[in-house]
């Protein structure tokens, strides 16, 4: 079995530190603006919580029959910290064993979690925007309110901008490091 290079070894604590930011900073943010909300409204998604102007957004969305957002409704807020936590622990193990194959597997698991998370986020956004209360006071024919996965979208009177927040960028950085180092280690053998 091939041993990891020095660069490969060094990358592990960096990835772990990048992922640790998830507990200190929000990973995603959705900003909204409408004429009567000049300061805008903002919602921050954390690894285990959703913060910001959630009560106000819930209050507004009831007009069009969208579900209210409650932290308790998200199983993700339980699973995500556990899976990322385990993933970080695995990193420590790989540092000790120093095996290339384990590093490749680690990267594979990361990509799997990332893909799953984005898929899950999209599914939630789709349901949030499409599953509308049939008794909602305001019904716009053909209109659904799915927020953008990433980027800008206009939804009725609101402009919506969805993008990674600090920990999200760190998460993306750790993904790039993992893929980059995997490629580097692969070429080196």
């Amino acid at each position: 079995m091939k041993k990891l290079s020095q660069a490969g070894l060094m990358s592990i604590p960096i990835v772990i530190i990048c992922l640790a930011t998830l507990w200190f900073f929000p990973m995603w943010r959705i900003d909204m603006r409408a004429p009567q909300y000049p300061d805008g409204l903002s919602m921050q998604i954390w690894i285990n919580d959703v913060k910001g102007d959630v009560p106000i957004i819930n209050g507004l969305n009831h007009y069009i029959g969208m579900k209210t957002i409650h932290k308790e409704d998200f199983l993700e807020f339980v699973f995500m910290p556990i899976s990322i936590g385990l993933f970080m622990a695995a990193g420590v193990l790989i540092m000790v064993l120093k095996k290339k194959i384990l590093y490749y597997t680690w990267t594979g698991i990361f990509l799997f979690i990332a893909l799953l998370s984005f898929g899950d986020f999209y599914r939630w956004e789709y349901n949030y925007g499409h599953q509308l209360d049939p008794n909602a006071p305001i019904k716009v024919p053909g209109m659904s309110y799915q927020p953008p996965l990433i980027g800008y979208k206009k939804l009725l009177n609101f402009e919506v901008l969805s993008q990674p927040d600090i920990a999200g960028w760190c998460y993306i950085a750790s993904g790039l490091i993992l893929v980059g180092i995997t490629y580097y280690e692969w070429k080196k053998k």
Partner: protein, 651 residues
């Protein structure tokens, strides 16, 4: 021949009277233009006079931002009508729904504005109010006993240690029935000193100084070297009690009453005063309970100058002085004799020397009168007609309003020379320079608050708004830059930089801190409770429904209390509440607040109620019904929201 014609025309041109329009020059518009979405530089708090309220304007635009209800009921938001605020207007004579609000003072620390509170006086039924500048709400009203015409009020000392209240109308102390003609023997003026708690702002009537019968007009505290002193202008030292117009204008000089309040404080502490019975109301608004309470107090401490030597001196001042204004350094005391053709300026330094050297010219009812010349710094000669009030720009200049000649006159404190004069439209009363009565005036703007409006704005029948003019005083010459209408009748005003209070404005109340006795913490807590003929409705309001919105089992003769809690937690989402045929006002309920409206139905019927403040796209739907049945009818108490005949049957 042609030359003669031209010359004649030119001469006729020059004979034309000056009009108001000619007074405005070039760049006035750009100096007052505040672009859409931009803020004014300055908050201008303007007394409401006979409307009893305080108006808030932005400067330099002159835009009206708010009317703060203080001494008059305000059906628009329920002030004085809601169960929570009725106590604010309580007096020893019950709820008085109106007063005459003349003067304002912003709280100060070390002689500079600190942006915490605004004090306001009530002239008719003597009272002093304190307004909180984070909520723009009246928090406290203190009634003043042994007083009438609370005019020289609510001026404050340099660190807001005291707010004063001086009587315009002398009255007998206590409740003895005496003939009016016994004025000289039985009538007194009083100068009340109200202590202000450093942290809470709570007011307390510390002591009252009993003075001879005369009219105290305006006042201002000393600052810097004169910190320990308070100065009150007086008129009617003739002690007239009828046809004052003539009988109170006889003497050549009245007085400025100089009170050493530090000494008075010491005398009060040393037990030199006399505690006497006196009833007065002290009303306070509890922010936690969101409810005002009124306490009737029973005693006051009187200080008699006879028992307190070196506490009070009289400075002769020509002809019924109105303004009594202290320059930013604290050295000069400017008296404005409204019937005088000059402005006397007294020196504090000379005043103390005169007291030390006992340069007196007799006494007024036992109070030493200082020799006029001994205290005089100098006189401003021929300033104009009818000097009323003086403000300062912090650059060594004073500005005096001239009621009769309708102008503002700028003069130098150093050599007492007139430097400039500009007309006002018309008959200016008070002037205001932001911070103009503090140690640090802002020397950029001056506002004249006029008593006569005539043709300044589009006419609106015989009853007109008042007019104010804004002047740019940053240069050598004063420049008129704006006219704006004001409401009620402004007297004195205050202004401060917007930055001092803008960022500490409360946007909404935290519902979790709502300690109201009748709060409904969420729709699940909405309820209707009957106790005898009292019905308490714990109602919630949130866009766009009221809970409960169907109420039955209420009878003619019941006393119904709607306790409406606004559950919103967002900026600028108030809800309103009103019910048909209620001989009462409406409520405006700010987010997180609970307010109560009483309704005593005396006729059977269905009474719709609804939200009166357009709150959302479904505001029109935010309504409900109260069924009032005949007394003794067999209708069970029932209430809810969202329950229909079909939904109940489905269960």
């Amino acid at each position: 021949m042609l030359g003669l014609a031209v010359a004649t025309t030119a001469a006729m041109q020059s004979c034309k009277m000056k009009t108001a329009a000619t007074a405005v020059q070039g760049d006035a518009a750009s100096k007052t233009y505040v672009a859409p979405g931009k803020y004014d530089e300055i908050y201008n708090f303007v007394s409401g006079g006979f409307n009893g309220q305080v108006s808030v304007y932005g400067l330099p635009s002159g835009r009206l931002l708010k009317v703060i209800p203080v001494f008059a009921v305000n059906p628009e938001n329920g002030y004085g009508y809601s169960e929570e605020t009725k106590a604010m207007l309580n007096t020893t004579n019950g709820l008085i729904p109106w007063d005459d609000q003349h003067h304002l003072d912003l709280s100060q620390t070390n002689g500079e504005q600190d942006g915490r509170w605004l004090f306001a006086n009530a002239n008719n039924t003597p009272r002093v109010a304190r307004i909180d500048l984070t909520t723009f709400k009246t928090m406290e009203i203190l009634q003043i006993p042994n007083s009438a015409g609370n005019h020289s009020s609510p001026f404050i000392t340099e660190n807001t240690e005291y707010v004063v209240a001086g009587t315009r109308f002398s009255v007998p102390l206590g409740s003895e029935d005496v003939p009016i003609s016994s004025f000289k023997d039985n009538f007194h003026s009083t100068a009340s000193f109200i202590s202000v708690d450093k942290t809470s702002g709570k007011m307390d009537l510390a002591f009252q100084i009993v003075l001879p019968g005369m009219n105290l007009d305006l006042s201002h505290a000393g600052k810097g070297p004169s910190h320990d002193w308070f100065f009150f202008s007086s008129y009617n030292t003739e002690q007239a009690y009828t046809l004052l117009e003539v009988n109170a204008s006889q003497k050549d000089k009245d007085y400025i009453v100089a009170v050493n309040w530090k000494k008075a404080e010491e005398y009060a502490k040393a037990g030199k005063g006399k505690k006497v019975p006196a009833t007065y109301a002290h009303n306070t608004y509890d922010e936690h309970k969101q409810t005002a309470t009124s306490e009737i107090k029973n005693e006051v401490l009187l200080l008699d100058p006879k028992d307190c030597p070196d506490m009070i001196y009289m400075i002769p001042c020509p002809k019924s002085p109105h303004g009594c204004d202290i320059d930013p350094s604290g050295e000069f005391i400017v008296g404005s004799g409204k019937l005088a053709a000059l402005i006397p300026v007294f020196s504090f330094n000379k005043l103390t020397k005169a007291i030390d050297g006992k340069q007196f010219e007799g006494d007024f009812k036992g109070i030493p009168i200082i020799k006029y010349e001994a205290a005089l710094h100098g006189e401003v000669q021929k300033p104009g007609l009818g000097p009323l009030h003086t403000e300062f720009d912090g650059k060594g200049n004073a500005y005096t309003s001239m009621f009769l000649s309708s102008e503002v006159v700028k003069w130098s404190l150093k050599d007492l020379q007139v430097l400039d004069r500009v007309p006002t439209y018309y008959s200016v009363g008070h002037l205001m320079i932001p911070g103009g009565d503090t140690k640090k005036p802002g020397g950029k703007y001056l506002v004249a608050y006029n008593k006569i409006t005539k043709d300044r704005f589009l006419p609106t029948g015989p009853e007109l708004a008042q007019s104010a003019q804004l002047y740019d005083i940053s240069g050598d010459k004063m420049q008129l830059i704006l006219d704006f209408p004001t409401f009620g009748e402004p007297h004195y005003a205050q202004a401060c930089q917007a930055s001092l209070i803008k960022d500490k404005q409360v946007k909404f109340y935290d519902i979790n801190k709502n300690g109201h006795d009748y709060v409904a913490m969420g729709e699940k807590k909405a309820n209707v409770v009957r106790k005898g003929n009292r019905v308490d409705i714990y109602m919630t309001a949130i866009r766009s429904h009221l809970v409960p919105d169907n109420i039955e089992g209420v009878f003619v003769g019941d006393e119904v209390y709607f306790h409406v809690t606004n559950l919103e937690q967002d900026w600028d989402i108030p809800h309103g509440f009103a019910i048909k045929n209620n001989p009462n006002a409406e409520l405006l309920i700010m987010p997180g607040e609970t307010v109560t409206l009483k309704f005593s139905p005396d006729k059977q019927g269905i009474y719709p109620f609804y939200c009166t403040d357009f709150c959302s796209a479904l505001h029109q739907e935010m309504s409900g019904y109260l069924r009032v049945s005949p007394k003794g009818a067999n209708v069970p108490l029932k209430f809810g929201t969202g329950e229909t005949v079909t939904s109940v049957a489905a269960k």
